[in-house]
């Protein structure tokens, strides 16, 4: 039961991260290797508030959301927009996101040193599990992360299908050039998508210390799982990436647990499972689950 709970929490957080990855990929065409490091904005915002003002990590989610969003916009505006304007190749853009990832690694390392010097408490390695509590016999992290996903999906579909801005957003996802011709401000929808991506990752980062230890390198360590979730779901579909997250998250946690029961200690191989799933998805169904589902239902749409 404990394992299932952990798997569910992990999958929820993976979904938050991979939705962000997918959104920026479809609007700007950049596979963002810094997505994992975006999560640390949330973790460190929560940690700072906890150490300095004694605010519970759950209460700092709104601030983490805003900080992550602004960071996403900053990365887009400073690093990627100049390259997109020059019509740089996709590999160049990916190298730029690798550079951003390294800058963020340096930034969080420096910040954690700074925070340690300021508060005298460990910031280079921290975990929030002692601060967690139970609601109706469940861990709060389970309920809250599930609620966050639920809220996100509801508000995202309300935004995408219920508002004019949502129509503009979908149009610029489908075909940016055409949308621009029709009068959609593509620059604005792109900026918004980077805000959303950073904000979602940062929210996930706020929850992440309740499940695993955070170090400045965490961002680079979880990026493989994020990409696996996004690709298994078909990197061009938001709902696909939610589905992909649950598949990858559960198989990482459950499969490794079951195999380790049979063969002993191999828990370290959880990332190998996500890698294998990603490679299988890439080779057999390059459009992922979304592609498979679309093919089946294409007559109806």
């Amino acid at each position: 039961m404990f394992v299932v709970e952990g798997a569910l929490v992990y999958s929820n957080l993976l979904a938050l991260l991979s939705i962000g990855l997918t959104i920026t990929y479809i609007t700007t065409g950049v596979p963002n290797f810094a997505q994992g490091s975006f999560a640390l904005f949330g973790s460190y915002t929560a940690l700072t508030l906890l150490y300095t003002l004694k605010i519970h990590p759950y209460a700092s989610v709104p601030l983490a959301f805003a900080v992550g969003g602004l960071a996403g916009v900053a990365v887009y505006a400073l690093a990627l927009r100049p390259l997109l304007k020059r019509e740089a190749s996709i590999v160049t853009l990916m190298i730029a996101t690798l550079a951003v990832d390294l800058i963020l690694l340096g930034f969080f390392g420096a910040y954690s040193d700074f925070l340690e010097g300021l508060t005298g408490k460990s910031a280079k390695k921290f975990i929030f599990t002692p601060y967690d509590f139970n609601i109706f016999g469940f861990k709060a992290i389970l309920l809250l992360s599930t609620f966050a996903i639920f809220l996100l999906l509801v508000s995202l579909s309300a935004l995408l299908y219920g508002t004019k801005f949502g129509i503009a957003l979908r149009a610029s996802m489908e075909n940016p050039e055409l949308a621009e011709v029709m009068g959609v401000n593509v620059a604005r929808t792109r900026t918004f998508s980077w805000f959303l991506s950073g904000a979602l990752a940062s929210t996930a980062g706020c929850f992440l210390p309740f499940r695993q230890e955070i170090v400045p390198l965490t961002g680079s360590l979880i990026i493989v799982s994020i990409f696996a979730a996004s690709i298994v779901g078909g990197i061009t579909s938001i709902y696909g990436s939610v589905l992909g997250s649950y598949i990858v998250g559960f198989s990482e946690s459950l499969l490794t647990f079951i195999i380790s029961l049979a063969f002993g200690q191999i828990l370290v191989y959880s990332r190998v499972i996500s890698l294998i799933m990603m490679l299988i998805a890439l080779v057999l169904a390059p459009k992922g689950l979304a592609g498979v589902v679309k093919k089946k239902w294409s007559i109806y749409s």
Binding site: R86, L102, G106, S220, V224, V283
Partner: protein
């Protein structure tokens, strides 16, 4: 001072080798190999994982790899101290193992490219490299995991500063040798074929060349070279620990160097490596001075990451062609053609705004229209 200079030379050699290999793969063949660290790790594995295990068999040591390596190290060092020929043989043999293992694993590593387009391939290669890094780091049975394994030291005749000198001579001579081989290879028809593949795979395929085979070849050669530098690095530190083969140092920095130097330009690689290594060694040597001088409330290593990350972005945004722009390969027939056209051009009227290829084109079109 001498120490800094020697460290710069050693790192120059090590990064030279890695960047030459990445320049074959990304600069020439256009394969976005975001998993360069993998091949370097393979080289270190050849020293810590393969050579040590072979020596354990020879010496009949039946411990785990970590304790076994320690006994292998002392036994082997003792033999090599008595017999320099064994040391040379051991060094060359291990480098050969690294090169062969690198070529084989590099060829397997690139196989997903049969089905994947450019950026999916980049993601897949990065993921493979990251995961093998993690497995090697968390599993102590491969190369000692987070404990690491120690390796015999083939340069044990030299002590202290002398060892650094000997090692820099060794690395630089291997780097020079590889530089010669690689530039020869890249100027050959094979190199031009790789460039053609980078520009347009369909054209290469239409000319009857197997693109997949070309990619496998390029990657096998590249990985084999990169593995040599991994093995050399292992001998430099005389121990192998997976955490020193991380993505930042062995994938990102080589990319930074070849983009800074100029993609596809072998001399650019030299310039890029030199600039990068000087800055990096100075940063790491004077990190304490830097920290106190700038009143940094954090370690200087984080500053290094930020500086090189920002440098990469600046190069990509403001100088994407790098320091030394790629030049066309001047083969004999091409040189003759260039000479002939230059002569021809000077005999005709010089190229003026009124007399340019575009204007000829326009004139042709006018003629067509009037017809």
């Amino acid at each position: 001072m001498e120490h800094i200079l020697l460290t710069i030379l050693i790192w120059f050699g090590l990064y030279m080798i890695v960047c030459l290999s990445l320049n074959i793969e990304y600069g020439y063949a256009g394969i976005p190999n975001f998993g360069r660290a993998f091949a370097v790790l393979v080289g270190a594995f050849a020293v810590g994982g393969v050579a040590n295990r072979l020596l354990m068999l020879i010496f009949d040591i039946s411990n785990g790899i970590i304790e076994g390596s320690a006994s292998v190290k002392s036994a082997m060092n003792e033999i090599m101290a008595r017999n320099p020929a064994v040391a040379i043989l051991f060094l060359l043999g291990t480098l050969c193992i690294a090169a062969i293992l690198g070529a084989v694993l590099g060829a397997i590593f690139i196989l997903p490219s049969a089905r994947l387009s450019e950026h999916y391939l980049a993601i897949a290669l990065l993921a493979i490299s990251e995961v093998s890094y993690m497995v090697c780091y968390y599993n102590p049975d491969i190369i000692g995991g987070y404990y690491g394994v120690s390796t015999p030291d083939p340069l044990l005749f030299f002590q202290g500063e002398q060892r650094l000198l000997a090692f820099s001579v060794l690395t630089l001579s291997i780097a020079t040798l590889l530089y010669g081989i690689v530039s020869k290879m890249l100027n050959s028809p094979f190199g031009r074929l790789l460039k053609a593949m980078r520009e347009d795979e369909a054209v290469v395929e239409a000319c009857g060349k197997d693109v997949m085979f070309l990619r496998v070849k390029a990657c096998a050669v590249g990985s084999s070279i990169a593995a040599i530098s991994g093995a050399l690095y292992a001998f430099y530190t005389t121990n192998v620990i997976a955490s020193s083969f991380n993505r930042a140092e062995w994938t990102f920095y080589p990319f930074l160097i070849i983009i800074l130097g100029g993609l596809g330009s072998t001399n650019g690689v030299v310039a890029g490596v030199f600039l990068f290594v000087v800055v990096r060694v100075l940063l790491t040597t004077y990190k304490w001075e830097l920290k106190s001088a700038l009143h940094l409330p954090f370690e200087a290593v984080w500053l290094e990451y930020m500086i090189f990350g920002v440098l990469m972005l600046l190069v990509l945004i403001f100088k994407p062609e790098g320091l030394l722009r790629e030049k066309p390969t001047m083969t004999k027939p091409i040189r003759e053609v260039v000479k002939r056209t230059r002569k021809g051009a000077s005999r005709q009227q010089p190229l003026t705004p009124q007399n340019t290829p575009e204007s000829w084109h326009k004139a042709e079109k006018k003629e067509e229209n009037s017809r």
